[in-house]
């Protein structure tokens, strides 16, 4: 159990992108992170964002181009993977097929020369945590995917690592198994409180497991914060669009001024939304920005609503919730309602937007435009 500190980490692959002008020259670009002792950190991002490269650098499977990684007080850049005191579980289970589950879990301890009865004690201590105690005599081939991954994780934590590294451990599993094991991982962390770095492309996994999550894109860290911080207060358009299901609706908008009030207007759409007052200092007539609003912050207004009349483009009844989609210009804007009213496609509704919950992003950079406090 240790602190993990990553300072100004860079990674460049020599043979990739020979052109010097290539923007994505760095697989990881100036990444700095600090994980507290016992914290659960998720690194989240689309494929190719550098999350796995980062994990592999922490594990020592990949050379570090520049920057430092510390585990506890030790700089580990030049340490051999086996000396870094880490536990690692990959998405493919990589169990040793000829060994039983017990021997698979015990393998690393045996290699380190831990006495047999100590190994036995530790394996039997770990097995119930991952619910594999009944599988110890089985061979890997006879296990299901979920069981294999449990064994895989057991193997990673049995050596009591300072840092536990998990690389997409759930991505090979089907829906139900994935949810079940997600819960188990959460419980496990609560039990052993081992500093954990969890790499995933699935925002739900990251949101549900992590104490704090680091969102990366194109090698660059976009935001680092608790799941709710990231959800409620996204740093930029990328984060806003990446987190949440359905994702935040993000629309290009032109601001117009009408009788001392500002409105969001949209190309090829009647929709007009009153800008929240807190933005007024920043707005100019004719300014173009992007506006983001969560599907839960848009409502269908009642009969006396002052909302803009729009036509329902999509109505989805998902049993426990209902989703309504309307077209604003070319974009499909989704909202979620829990009430039981049903709508037909083409039916007219009045759209109300909770202006206070809207976010503004710069048209070019995608950076968040925040009102002055």
């Amino acid at each position: 159990m240790s602190k993990l500190i990553i300072k100004n980490l860079y990674k460049r692959y020599e043979n990739k992108g020979k052109k010097k002008t290539d923007k994505n020259e760095f697989a990881v670009n100036n990444l700095s992170l600090e994980c507290e002792d016992g914290e659960f950190i998720a690194i989240l991002g689309p494929s190719g964002c550098g999350k796995t490269t980062t994990l592999r650098m922490i594990a020592g499977l990949e050379d570090i181009t520049a920057g430092d990684i510390y585990i506890g007080d030790t700089r580990i850049n030049d340490l051999h993977p086996k000396d870094r005191n880490i536990g690692l579980a990959f998405e493919d289970y990589a169990l040793y097929p000829p060994l039983t589950v017990y021997d698979n879990i015990a393998f690393n301890l045996k290699a380190k020369g831990v006495p047999a009865d100590e190994i036995k004690r530790r394996v039997h201590e770990i097995a119930p945590l991952l619910k594999v105690e009944d599988l110890l005599d089985k061979m890997p081939v006879s296990l299901s995917g979920g069981q294999k991954q449990r064994v895989n994780i057991a193997r990673a934590i049995v050596r009591r690592p300072g840092i536990l590294l998990l690389d997409e451990p759930l991505s090979h599993l089907d829906g139900k198994m994935r949810q079940a094991l997600r819960t188990e991982i959460k419980r496990l962390h609560n039990e052993i409180k081992c500093t954990t770095v969890y790499v995933t492309h699935d925002q739900l996994e990251a949101m549900s497991l992590a104490d704090r999550m680091a969102i990366m894109n194109l090698g660059v860290l976009q935001q680092f914060g608790t799941p709710m911080e990231v959800y409620d207060d996204p740093a930029n358009e990328f984060v806003a669009g990446f987190i949440g299901e359905p994702p935040m609706n993000i629309l290009k908008t032109t601001i117009i001024k009408h009788e001392n009030d500002f409105y969001f207007t949209f190309e090829n759409s009647e929709l007009r939304i009153l800008c929240p007052r807190r933005y007024y200092d920043l707005l100019k007539d004719g300014m173009q920005v992007k506006m983001g609003v969560r599907p839960t912050d848009i409502y269908v207004g009642g009969p006396d609503s002052k909302g803009t009349p729009v036509k329902v483009a999509v109505f989805e009844d998902l049993c426990a919730e209902r989703r309504i989609g309307v077209r604003v210009g070319e974009e499909l804007v989704m909202m979620i309602t829990e009430d039981e009213t049903r709508y037909r496609q083409g039916e007219q509704i009045k759209l109300e937007v909770n202006g206070e919950k809207t976010h503004l992003f710069d048209l070019e950079t995608g950076n968040r435009i925040r009102p002055k406090k």
Binding site: M207, G244, T296, L332
Partner: protein, 388 residues
């Protein structure tokens, strides 16, 4: 447009029975979903309709006409495949035009051009028509595959997990878009999926299939509120339905079920028909199903509620799943995203007996629900809105 009937279809691959005496009637112009876990026989069934698979027994009828011996090209079906099955050496334009260039559906170049651009516009890929499939993203490929089906007027559209290959975000988006363009199909659609949300969002009716057998056919309300057995109940709905053991207790002429803990009695609602159904069933051991969004919880100590601990709390987008551990049983419930909660803290849970679904504990078959009136009302409302 066609009515499609499958009568006693059985298909074996060697010793494996992929379809076991399947009977289905799909109405003209209906959006019909085949829903089931992997390996249930969904794709085989779809291929049987297309004529790509020959059943050992049974009849396939289009509009009453037996189609068993008609080869796929003459059945006038359009198909969308899970892996898109685009012709890699042809442009998007030529891919979409392909059916119209076939000897069977041959059209002149002007018509082809018009049709291709029409569907490309519906699918929002009109700017991509000159590209090759390898230059497209997965979402775009899938639109092209749909375009190839949309370009003619088939008896039936067959869609085999068309969006299963897309990543989660795109899948949700495409599902909504598919729903939006449903009216453009203007024909019978059979849609295969293993995703519950796709099934309930898109299907006019849903057939649940498992191990080659049809388990239940019904509207989304029917399969969700009155699942015919526990298999259907757990398959439909996310997070999964909570199933708990229950026992019928009669005390002083009043009917209770004992659930979760010894002595925890919940009175059965008197005016719903459920008491009679339970008594008629002749057994006293049940499994009770509670949907996670109906289970209520509080962190304040309260008598009469089940006491448990928080086992897990997981955000699922715009809301969260709270899992409570009561004894050695778990209950899933829906909670707000921003709930402040610590693992293992006490939680008090109320099971909504008025919204319980009862299953026979031995056979796992559906007995009844305590909420029939409300469900009936829902179904009526759905009917009055017209089939969507």
């Amino acid at each position: 447009m066609a009515k499609i009937e499958l009568l006693n279809i059985t298909k074996r691959f060697g010793k494996f029975t992929a379809l076991d005496n399947v009977n289905l009637e799909i109405k003209d112009n209906e959006f019909f979903v085949l829903f089931g876990p992997a390996g249930a026989g969904k794709t085989t069934l779809l291929n049987t309709v297309a004529g790509l698979v020959m059943p050992e027994e049974g009849l396939v009828k289009f509009n009453g006409e037996i189609m068993n011996k008609v080869d796929p090209s003459h059945r006038n079906v359009a198909m969308v495949f899970e892996n898109y099955a685009l012709y890699p050496n042809l442009t998007v334009y030529e891919n979409i035009a392909s059916p119209l260039r076939s000897p069977l559906y041959k059209k002149d170049d002007a018509t082809i051009d018009k049709e291709v651009h029409r569907v490309a516009k519906i699918l929002r890929i009109d700017h991509l028509v000159e590209r090759l499939p390898s230059q497209l993203s997965n979402g775009q490929k899938q639109r092209v595959a749909i375009g190839r089906a949309l370009v003619r007027n088939p008896n039936v559209f067959l869609m085999d997990e068309p969006i299963a290959h897309l990543d989660a975000k795109l899948r949700h988006h495409m599902r909504s878009e598919l729903k939006e363009m449903q009216s453009s199909f203007n024909s019978t659609v059979i849609y295969v999926t293993h995703d519950f949300l796709e099934a309930v969002s898109l299907g006019d009716r849903i057939a649940i299939i498992n191990e080659g057998k049809i388990v239940q056919v019904g509207t989304r309300e029917e399969v969700y509120y009155t699942p015919c057995n526990e298999f259907v109940a757990t398959l439909v709905g996310e997070p999964e339905i909570n199933l708990v053991d229950g026992r019928l207790v009669v005390d002083n002429g009043k009917y209770y079920v004992e659930v979760m803990q010894k002595g925890y009695l919940m009175p059965l609602p008197e005016n719903s028909g459920i008491i009679k159904k339970l008594v008629d069933s002749g057994i006293t051991e049940y499994h009770l199903g509670f949907r996670p969004n109906n289970v209520k919880y509080t962190f304040q100590k309260q008598d009469g509620l089940l006491r448990g601990t928080v086992y897990s709390f997981e955000s699922i987008g715009n809301k969260a799943v709270l899992i409570a551990k009561i004894g050695d049983q778990f209950l899933r419930m829906i909670a707000p995203n921003d709930l402040q909660v610590k693992l293992d803290q006490d939680v008090y849970v109320e099971l909504p007996i008025s919204k319980a679904t009862f299953f026979n504990a031995q056979t796992t078959q559906f007995i009844g629900t305590s909420d029939e009136a409300a469900i009936y009302r829902l179904v009526q409302e759905q009917l009055s809105k017209g089939v969507q």
